[in-house]
Symmetry: C2
DNA sequence: ACCATATTTCTAGAAATATAGAAATGATTG
DNA sequence: CAATCATTTCTATATTTCTAGAAATATGGT
């Protein structure tokens, strides 16, 4: 991943509301979550939510798929993986000892 | 790590200039890098660089230590680890299969 | 066709950010 | 202590971002 792309991704996630949106979508898994349910979870105006979703879509972190009258949002796991890989690569580029793979493996 | 902290860290890294600063410091390793050398590497005014350094320090991603007349900047690896751990945890919270630890282990 | 639901786009104002020139501060050297 | 180097703080300006109300668009049901 190019550094400017990484910066764009980080910037998109660097807003509390957007990070909450993104976390909710990550946690929603493959089935995603409709805009309306995000609206109920997060305390923001619809127009504000829409604005943030647009930002996240703009950098490819999420996508939307229409299902009838509702739009279902999905996190793009690949983008997340690329971003984390970028951070890990940078982190370990010249100081391998300080961040071995298992250091990040606190999964579960 | 609390989500608002994570957002603050991501926001700090979500600016191309700041991400370049941070990357340079990460790569500089334990010995760090003086402000003057960052100034030579990155094409910005001193006041602008100083402003960005302050932002990165504000969230604890870097620190400075004076060595005579020069200020040497250091990346804070612990903060980076916490941030990556946050992202990995979120990513894997409800869909473990899609991001097993080794997925991020492209640490050459 | 009409109505209700779901969501976006338009518009605007307030606040935050990025940038850099000029002046100020801190440290070293002669 | 004057001069110089390294860096920050002050100040100002241009731009972007966040927020949300109002209006518009899209879909589905009756």
């Amino acid at each position: 991943m190019k550094i400017d792309d990484a910066a764009a991704h980080l910037e998109a996630l660097g807003n509390p509301t957007r990070l909450k949106i993104y976390r909710a979508l990550i946690r929603a898994g493959e089935q995603g979550m409709p805009v309306g349910r995000l609206l109920a979870k997060l305390d923001v105006a619809g127009s504000t939510l829409s604005h943030h979703l647009k930002t996240l879509m703009g950098v490819g972190l999420i996508s939307q798929k229409r299902n009838g009258a509702t739009l279902v949002c999905h996190a793009n796991y690949d983008q997340m993986r690329s971003l984390v890989a970028f951070l890990v690569d940078e982190c370990c580029a010249e100081s391998p000892g300080s961040c071995s793979p298992h250091t990040f493996g606190k999964v579960a």
